[in-house]
Every structure is written in structure tokens, then in C-alpha cells.
């Protein structure tokens, strides 16, 4: 990058070609007021506050959109410019409703801060008082157009960072306003409620329902952590006041895993399910009643020790939710396989893991999730295949990456899914195979890509080609319920791609079919044989710490214990749910022979009806623990709030029971 020299306020400063005048001012500590500028967004020069004088320019120009050139002579602060800036502020204050005493953002508002800075103690211009709507249809967000200054930050964030592009300007001139889609209420639009617009809004125009009036940022403690909810592992910055979550933001929207979605940003501010805050023990009348934790631990230890000595180690089974942290899962494994000495340990998503592992095993000699790639690869892709997944709903940040690649890199997005998909308008091609014919559709597509001319030099490609030799593309696509033309078009896109990425999820995993996983790996291998690097494939796993649970080997690769439960051999079951909300229908069928069931959980649900003892778990925000992201990166969370006194971390309770059993 070529270095350039400019004169700003009489001083020589350096920058590089491609910088704007604002970039160079900021790099040199020159404080220019801005409202529409936001780090990481394209500048548009909407607010006119950063106006500067540049010699040979007839009038002041916005620094944020003016490309810096060698030899420019710039003045940033003089009486005339300061007068203009105050004038702009007064015009902004009189255009709509900017009366701070009635605004949720007062005390945390960039417009207000600038008015203070410029000592704007009155507004000389007549107020326009347009009667603008307030849109509160969305579950989490409100747009009060009366507070909007039309800076367009939300619109650019929605487009450039989130990739969804729900928001844009509607109408023209005087009637200009921010609209969602074709002026739908936000809650009925394509909005994914990620809340990035709320984070970047400089005023109170976009605010969060459950953060409003709970505390100003300066009254809150800021804690950086990681969201463990879906396994993407986004960075969060939580604002906490009086042991209550006030607001969750991204520390930097433009950073790696910095976008956030409604599950990480808003859901933790709500208390959707009833918490368990004491231990519960089934009494003589079969009802769960609240008991001191120490007493409940004692009962569990005694009963388990009794059953273990009477029926043997393998009469006790343990099932964990993969939403639990690495620490909880590790302690659970030690407890079931160590203290109790049972082989019967599994996760609720164990069958999915086994199918995945077997599928990988057919594809290559050793099974391992290292066949998968990092989510960031999506952003580099020029062709993306989404199979049996709805990422904008299940893993919205992964969905954002896909939408961004499709919008910004013009990546071709192919969806293979018989079900509805939120990617409707990003999608170049949507193939809808018949239910149960997904495997055939994938194999046929792979074959079609090979026919387009795959490089057949590697052993893996040769092996795959040989395995598909009997497939006829025309017949295969017909049987799978896809038009042959569509399938060939998809094959064309994949074979032309230099950097293709395949993402699959729930729609594939739910079949627990190893063959599907092998087909996907085969397709990824063939698709990437044209371009650079190894096959790129990512599975959107069912729970926030599925990868952690699977890597730790909680679920055996060979046998499912779910089926054993209905036999008469299993006499006791320990279910660790942690902060996963699981109801009875999501648990495996429990056998009649079961004599004792322990459930350790944060939330009360119908699953408790089967329990003899219920032990309380903290939620993720109440402990600092480790989780593995779905693409295999270990991340640590921080404690944001304290749990109530009777709630102990899962490992602590498990170790306590262990200690009692060994007595």
C-alpha cells in the first residue's frame, strides 16, 4: 500500500492510499464527531458531522467518505466547522422526537453525548413532529422511528455484517424511514432477531424490550464470555447489574465469531422455564418435595451404593445431555465409569454421534471429526451446499456466514432439503428430494459432478468413483424426486467452484444413517477435487457441546445404551441434563425394572416426573466452564451472575456423591 502525506491542521501526517480522511484523522488522534460511521461498515456520509475543510474544495466535505490523497491540506476544527456541526445537531434534534427524558437510550446515546459536547442547550429550528409508527411486533426488539436519525448503521450492519439484509430505507426524501423487507412489521419480516441493529443504533430508535430501563452501561459490570448455546461459540460482552443480566452485546461485531444471534443475545435475558433451586426428593405419596441438598446427596449415594452391590456395576446407567460443559461431562464420566464402574454411559444425542462416526469410518479408515472444517471457511466459499439444515434458525451465526458469502462473494448457494428453509432469497438452487431419498440424491449429485470431469488422481476420488459406477444420473434424479436439469445445474455449480463448502444438520442427522454421512463426505471430496485444499464439510450438531461430549467419548462408538434401558438389567439411571431443557418425550423409554432415577437439571420439566431425586444444576451464565464449539475449538465461559445458594456446580455435586459412596 502506497504511503501518502497530508497536512491536517498545519501538521504533516502520514496514511496509506485507500484510507479515508476520517481514517487518517482517527489514526492521528484528531477527534472528529461521527454518528453514521461505525467500525467495519462502509461509510456513506449520512450525518455530516465529520465535515472538514479541504483546500481547493468549494465547500466542507464529510471526512468519512473523502478518499485521502497525497498532498491534501485539511482543516478539521475551526469556528465555521464547529458552527456547522452544532447546526447539524440542532437539525437532527428538531427533525423527529429527540426529547431525552422519555427515551430508553438516555444516558447511553451518541446523539445526546454529542449535544452535550457541543453545549447544545436549545434548538432554534421549528420541530417537524412527524407522527411515526413504533414497531413492537418482534419478540425482542422495538423500532421507534421517532428516535431515528437515518444514519443507516442498522441497515448496513444487517446487510454487510449479518448478511440478511432485512432492513433498508423505504420511501424518499422527507418521508424516508428504515423499513423491514417491503415495510413489514419487524416481527413478521425476514429478520432473524440477531439484535446487531440494536447494538449499533446510536440513539434509542432500536432497543431491546428486556434491557430497557434495567440499568445504564455505567451502572453495570462488563464481563466478557462466550455463548455456549448452539456450538458456534460466539464472543459476548455481558452487562450485569445487581446479579441480573441487563444486556448482552458482541465485544466486536466485526471480529471472529462476533455476530451473535437471538439465542445468545436476548434469550438469556428471559426466564423461559421454571428453575430448580433446591434438591427435590420423592416422598411416600410419590410427590417430589424440596429437601436440603446434603440430604438429597446422601439419599442418592446410599441408593446407588445399595443397587450397585445388589445387582452389579452395570445395573446403573448414565445419560448426559450434550448441552453440559466439558467439566460437567468429565465429572459425569468419572462418576459413572469410575465410582460406579458401569459401562453404560451415553449422551442423549449418542445415536447421532454413532451414525456420524460410522459414516466417517466407511469413508476413511479411522473415524474422527477432524474430517470437518472451521465455520470461517464458509466466508471464503464460492459455492455452498446446505443439506438438510436450516442454519438461520438452528445456528443463526453460521447462517449469517452463508448469507454473507452468498451476498458479498456471490457464492452460489444450493439447498438440498425437502423441508422449508429460511434461505429462500439467497438460494441459487433449491433441490427437494423425496423424504428418505436424500442419500440417493447425494450419490447421484456426486456422480453428476464426477461426470462433469473430476480430477481422478487421488486414491480417495478413485474409490468414490468406483463405488458410484452403477448410478445413472437421469434415473437417480428421477427416483430421488429431483428434476434432472436441476441436479445437473447443481453439479455444474459444484464442478466450477474453486472453494466449495458443504454444511449439513438436523435434517440429515435425525436419520441416524451412516450412509448419508458417507455420501456427504464423498460429495465434499469430489467437489473439492477441482479447486484448492481438502474437502470442506461442517455438521451443525444438535447441542451446544455435542462436539465436546463426542470428543470426550461419553457416547460409545459401538453400542447404544438407550435400547438396554427397557430391559430388566438396568436398575438405576442417572440423567445429567445441566441447563438443557429436556422434557419426558425427549428421554429414551425407561424400563419397568428401573428402581431409582436421578435427574440433575437447571429447569423443571416433565422429565422430572420419572425422577426419585432431582438435583439442581446452575445455568451456563452462573459458572465459568469450558465448551467445545461444533468445529472443535475449546472455549472458556466466564461466570456472569451468581446462582442461588443451594445450587452447586455439576462436578461438585457428582464428586460429593462419589465421596459418600466410597465411605
Amino acid at each position: 500500500m502506497k504511503e501518502i502525506t497530508l497536512t491536517i491542521n498545519g501538521n504533516q501526517v502520514k496514511g496509506k492510499e485507500g484510507d479515508t480522511v476520517l481514517d487518517i484523522c482517527q489514526a492521528n488522534g484528531i477527534d472528529l464527531p461521527t454518528l453514521c460511521h461505525y467500525k467495519g461498515l462502509n461509510d456513506v456520509g449520512a450525518c455530516r458531522l465529520c465535515v472538514v475543510e479541504i483546500e481547493r474544495e468549494r465547500r466542507p466535505v464529510p471526512a468519512c467518505t473523502y478518499p485521502a490523497r497525497d498532498g491534501l491540506v485539511i482543516h478539521t476544527h475551526n469556528e465555521k466547522l464547529e458552527k456547522y456541526r452544532r447546526l447539524v445537531l440542532e437539525l437532527l434534534f428538531t427533525e423527529r422526537n429527540h426529547l431525552c427524558a422519555q427515551c430508553v437510550a438516555s444516558g447511553d446515546c451518541e446523539l445526546q453525548n454529542l449535544a452535550y459536547k457541543y453545549q447544545m442547550d436549545n434548538a432554534r429550528y421549528p420541530y417537524s413532529w412527524p407522527a411515526l409508527p413504533v414497531d413492537s411486533v418482534n419478540d425482542y426488539l422495538v423500532i421507534d422511528h421517532n428516535r431515528c436519525i437515518l444514519c443507516g448503521r442498522c441497515i448496513r450492519t444487517c446487510d454487510e455484517i449479518v448478511g440478511v439484509h432485512t432492513l433498508d430505507f423505504g420511501y424518499r426524501g422527507w418521508k424516508d424511514m428504515v423499513v423491514a423487507d417491503l415495510n413489514q412489521p419487524l416481527g413478521q419480516s425476514s429478520c432473524i432477531s440477531c439484535g446487531a441493529c440494536f447494538q449499533v443504533c446510536p440513539t434509542g430508535a432500536i432497543f431491546s424490550k428486556n434491557s430497557a430501563y434495567k440499568g445504564r452501561p455505567e451502572e453495570c459490570k462488563k464481563v466478557n464470555s462466550v455463548c455456549p448455546v448452539c456450538g458456534v461459540g460466539c464472543q459476548i460482552e455481558a452487562l450485569v447489574k445487581d446479579n441480573r443480566l441487563v444486556r448482552i452485546d458482541s465485544p466486536d461485531l466485526t471480529d471472529k465469531r462476533g455476530i451473535l444471534c437471538h439465542k445468545g443475545r436476548f434469550a438469556p435475558l428471559y426466564r423461559k422455564h421454571e428453575r430448580i433451586d433446591t434438591a427435590l426428593v420423592k416422598n411416600g405419596r410419590g410427590k417430589l418435595e424440596s429437601r436440603p441438598l446434603s440430604e438429597a446427596i446422601d439419599i442418592v449415594a446410599k441408593r446407588l451404593a445399595e443397587l450397585k452391590s445388589r445387582y452389579g456395576n452395570n445395573s446403573i446407567a448414565g445419560i448426559a445431555s450434550s448441552q453440559a460443559s466439558n467439566e460437567s461431562l468429565k465429572a459425569f464420566k468419572e462418576f459413572i465409569t469410575g465410582t460406579i464402574g458401569s459401562k453404560l454411559i451415553d449422551t442423549l444425542d449418542g445415536d447421532i454421534y454413532r451414525a456420524t462416526a460410522q459414516g466417517i469410518n466407511i469413508y476413511q479408515e479411522k473415524a474422527g471429526l477432524d474430517t470437518e472444517t472451521l465455520l470461517e471457511e464458509i466466508l471464503k466459499a464460492d459455492c455452498i451446499l446446505v443439506v438438510g439444515a436450516n442454519p438461520l434458525e438452528s445456528h443463526p451465526v453460521a447462517g449469517s456466514y452463508i448469507a454473507r458469502a452468498a451476498r458479498q462473494n456471490k457464492a452460489k448457494l444450493i439447498v438440498i432439503d425437502p423441508a422449508q428453509n429460511a434461505f429462500s432469497y439467497h438460494t441459487a438452487l433449491w433441490l427437494k428430494p423425496k423424504e428418505g431419498k436424500e442419500s440417493l440424491a447425494l450419490s447421484t449429485l456426486t456422480k453428476a459432478v464426477i461426470d462433469k470431469g473430476a480430477k481422478k488422481d487421488s486414491a480417495q476420488v478413485k474409490k468414490i468413483t468406483a463405488s458410484l459406477k452403477d448410478i445413472n444420473v437421469k434415473q437417480g434424479s428421477e427416483q430421488a424426486g429431483i428434476g434432472a436439469d436441476d441436479l445437473l445445474e447443481a453439479a455444474e455449480m459444484l464442478s466450477k467452484a474453486k472453494y466449495s463448502v458443504i454444511i449439513y444438520g438436523e435434517g440429515i442427522l435425525q436419520h441416524k444413517n451412516p450412509g448419508l454421512i458417507t455420501s456427504l463426505l464423498n460429495l465434499a471430496t469430489i467437489a473439492s477435487s477441482q479447486g484448492a485444499g481438502k474437502p470442506r464439510i461442517i455438521s451443525l450438531k444438535p447441542k451446544g457441546n455435542s462436539r465436546g461430549a463426542w470428543d470426550m467419548g461419553i457416547a460409545h462408538t459401538s453400542q447404544s445404551i438407550m435400547k438396554n434401558l427397557t430391559g430388566n438389567n438396568v436398575k438405576a439411571l442417572y440423567i445429567l441434563l445441566s441447563d438443557d431443557y429436556v422434557n419426558a418425550s425427549q428421554l429414551p423409554n425407561l424400563g419397568k425394572g428401573l428402581e431409582f432415577v436421578v435427574v440433575q437439571s437447571s429447569y423443571l420439566s416433565s422429565a422430572m416426573s420419572k425422577a426419585n431425586v432431582v438435583l439442581p444444576s446452575p445455568i451456563w451464565a452462573e459458572v465459568g466452564e469450558k465448551y467445545s464449539t461444533l468445529d472443535g475449538v475449546a472455549k472458556s465461559t466466564s461466570r456472569l451472575i451468581k446462582p442461588s445458594d443451594d445450587i452447586k456446580a455439576d462436578p461438585e455435586i457428582l464428586r460429593e456423591i462419589s465421596k459418600h459412596m466410597k465411605k
Binding site: N97, L99, A101, D121
Partner: protein, 178 residues
């Protein structure tokens, strides 16, 4: 030295600015030595006499308030606005984006707790203006102390500046709109 004469009026507002003024605590004793109040909600004197400083709290939402403000301006040398209502319109200006008849109907008839309500229109009740205005949209205002209400220290700062012969402009760290 003769005392500085001050008059204050309370227009469309909540009296919070006057309360905030009384909140200057012991400073009021020193102030009383150099300042004399004529018409003010604090003295309950109703007549205007010529004064050095006129102070207005509240915005202008009806014909009476407009008249009182004009009269205050005519009787004072320097006019100071206290609070967000007088400086910008404030909470009272919330009705400005609606038609005034709609606002009256909402207030007197449609409120959830109202049964068989009607809009009172006895003769002599001042008529609402179409929009609620800050003081400087009606008369010339010389200085401003924004805030809802302004901090007592901001009010005291402004008064002391005036007593020192300067037109006060609040420094940025004393500026507040809430």
C-alpha cells in the same frame, strides 16, 4: 448594593426545576442576601414588576402560557430558561405529533379508567396551541439550563454566572437532558 431582582414563572411543566433550585441547600442563604424574588411560585406573588432576570420553567402549550411568557419577557432584562420543557419542549411536547383534538379525546374520554367522560370546555379555560413549544420559539431567550430537572449545581452555576455579569453557557460536563 441593591439586590438583583428576579421573577420566575412555571408554565407547562412539573415544578421539578423550581424544586431543583430549592435543592441548592445552604447556598440559598447566600443567594438570598443578593437576590430578591418578585413574582414566582415560590413567593406566590402574582404581579409582574420590572426585574433584572426572568426565569421560565415549562414549555408553552396554551394561550395563557404564551401570554405569561410574553409578559415576563417584557418585564425582564435577561431571560433564562430552566429545564428540558423550556429549552426543548420536554415531556409536555409528547402530544405535539398528534392532533390536539385527538389528544383531548384520549385524555378525557378514552382513558381506560374513564366512564362517560367529556372534554371540558368552560369559557375562560385557555385554548391549547396546536403544538407545544420551547420558550425560545415564542420569545427571545438569553440563556439555558437544560435537564429534567437540571441539577441544582447547574442552576447555581448559571445564577452565579449571571451575578458575576456573564451570560452563562453550561460546560459540557454539566449538560443533561434527563
Amino acid at each position: 448594593m441593591a439586590k438583583v431582582k428576579v421573577a420566575t414563572v412555571w408554565l407547562e411543566g412539573c415544578a421539578g426545576c423550581h424544586m431543583s433550585f430549592l435543592d441548592i441547600d445552604e447556598a440559598i442563604i447566600e443567594l438570598a442576601k443578593v437576590v430578591e424574588f418578585s413574582r414566582s411560585p415560590i413567593t406566590d406573588i402574582k404581579e409582574f414588576v420590572p426585574v433584572d432576570v426572568g426565569i421560565v420553567e415549562g414549555s408553552v402549550g396554551n394561550t395563557e402560557e404564551e401570554e405569561v411568557l410574553k409578559e415576563l419577557r417584557a418585564h425582564c432584562k435577561i431571560l433564562m430558561a430552566w429545564g428540558d420543557c423550556a429549552c426543548f419542549g420536554g415531556v409536555c411536547a409528547m402530544r405535539s405529533s398528534f392532533d390536539k383534538e385527538d389528544a383531548l379525546r384520549r385524555g378525557y374520554i378514552e382513558t381506560e379508567s374513564t366512564h362517560k367522560g367529556k372534554i371540558p370546555r368552560p369559557p375562560g379555560v385557555p385554548a391549547l396551541l396546536d403544538q407545544v413549544k420551547p420558550a425560545n420559539h415564542i420569545v427571545k431567550v438569553d440563556c439555558y439550563v437544560p435537564g429534567c430537572p437540571p441539577e441544582p449545581k447547574a442552576i447555581l452555576y448559571a445564577l452565579n454566572e449571571l451575578l458575576a455579569g456573564r451570560i452563562p453557557v453550561l460546560p459540557s460536563d454539566m449538560m443533561r437532558f434527563d
